[in-house]
């Protein structure tokens, strides 16, 4: 079935190392996206026409453009035109953060505008000042809405990191290909075993996150 190649030498370790690279890139991007997304999302609720126009164009670009094209533009294009030397990893983080910030800001905007004005007013009527209202009433509700959605975004990001092998980053999929190539003669069926293992690795990385999201969603369904 082709699983035997994984037992050769340190192939399994290399595969895990590749997964590590994928997770590393996605987690850095997720952290940046959440931070910038919250700021942008909050700005979008201010209903400032300039911010709204800019963010709409930005979100549209991210929605329309395949992530791979963005990767190529940043890694191959920008480095040439701007004369800066970006490593493949930095390019990947830039592209994933560019994408993630857009998605995150939209989630934050939705969560913020989904809070009824009566929540602000009834807090005010109880004598709470603005800081108390946000701290005890508004932000906890936003976090409850946001966390399941942003966890979903995290798993999508982890999956999409498989694209970064196209700009030469040796992540789990690329390692898999290398193992298959190297064992073409001795194990012609390696492709199945290796890719099935990669499937399992992605599953093991994403499923707990997905379970956590389901759990939180259930816990906070009020």
């Amino acid at each position: 079935m082709g699983f035997e190649v994984l037992l050769k030498g340190n192939n399994m370790l290399r595969l895990l190392g590749g997964l590590g690279v994928a997770l590393y890139i996605s987690l850095i991007s997720v952290a940046i996206s959440i931070f910038l997304g919250i700021i942008l999302g909050a700005l979008m609720t201010l209903k400032n026409p300039v911010i709204n126009a800019v963010s709409r164009v930005y979100l549209e670009i991210v929605r329309i453009m395949p992530q791979m094209v963005l990767l190529f533009i940043v890694y191959f294009g920008a480095t040439k035109i701007l004369g800066i030397n970006l490593s493949a990893e930095v390019s990947a983080v830039i592209v994933f953060s560019f994408w993630g910030t857009a998605e995150m800001s939209d989630l934050v905007r939705g969560a913020l505008s989904g809070i009824d004005t009566i929540q602000y007013e009834s807090s005010a009527a109880l004598g709470m000042n603005t800081a108390q209202t946000y701290f005890h009433v508004i932000i906890p509700q936003i976090i409850r809405r946001l966390i399941p959605l942003s966890i979903n975004l995290i798993t999508r990001m982890i999956k999409t990191t498989s694209l970064v092998m196209m700009i030469g980053i040796v992540e789990v999929l690329k390692v898999g290909q290398q193992i298959i190539e190297a064992n073409r003669k001795s194990s012609p069926n390696a492709a199945f075993g290796v890719f099935a293992t990669i499937f399992l690795l992605y599953f093991l990385a994403c499923y707990p996150i997905s379970l956590l999201s389901k759990y939180l969603e259930k816990k906070w369904e009020n």
């Binding site: 009824d116 009566i118 009834s122 005010a124 009527a125 709470m128 108390q132 005890h136």
Partner: protein
Amino acid sequence: MEEILKVNNLSKRFDEIVVLDNLSLSVKKGEVVVIVGPSGCGKSTFLRCLNGLEDIEEGEVLLGEEKVNPNKKNLSKTREKIGMVFQSYDLFPHKTILQNITLAPIKVKKRNKAEVTEEALKLLDRVGLLSKKDNYPRQLSGGQKQRVAIVRALIMHPEVLLLDEITAALDPEMVREVLDVVLSLAKEGRTMLIVTHEMAFAKAVADRVIFLENGKIVEEGSPAEFFDHPKTDRLKRFLETFSYEK
């Protein structure tokens, strides 16, 4: 009796539309004033002006000696003394019933948690909802939520309680349980301003009834005069819309 709330020449406009037109009113301690009138007559806006949820353009609202001013820094201090319950169930969805009630006294008034909890449980018991203390708002019916909202306002020990159409969004069979709570509050001498469409309730609870139209007080009087011997034609016509004859 001591005057507790005074409104002097209050006017308010939304764009070109005059919502409140030179309104003056004075409420004594322990008095229950019910405000009725057609939709859009400014009743709710009037109540919202009383605790600074709306800007006041002209005139003033005085709570005792204190001016209620939306632009004032310590408005939230003044609001602690004015309780308000709204039409829509406005409980905090992420907190339990008990937490909904104790949040403001603990965080705003910095009262001791054990003491606030004890008082909250007593009040919950009084409105018949002690068993719901650890539930979340979504697990309660509309009438139950509204009773909790009343308790949440009461625990701040407000000098005046504003009730803004608190039964308008309720199923008919739940109206009674909420209004019974309000009636018992009136009996113990709470100062209240109540906006409602329940005429029978208004008659039972009010010391004074006010008919508001186009931002003006058209007629006011004791419930007996107001409902049985209305003076103005406008009020007569308004009251007729609530009675049915075959």
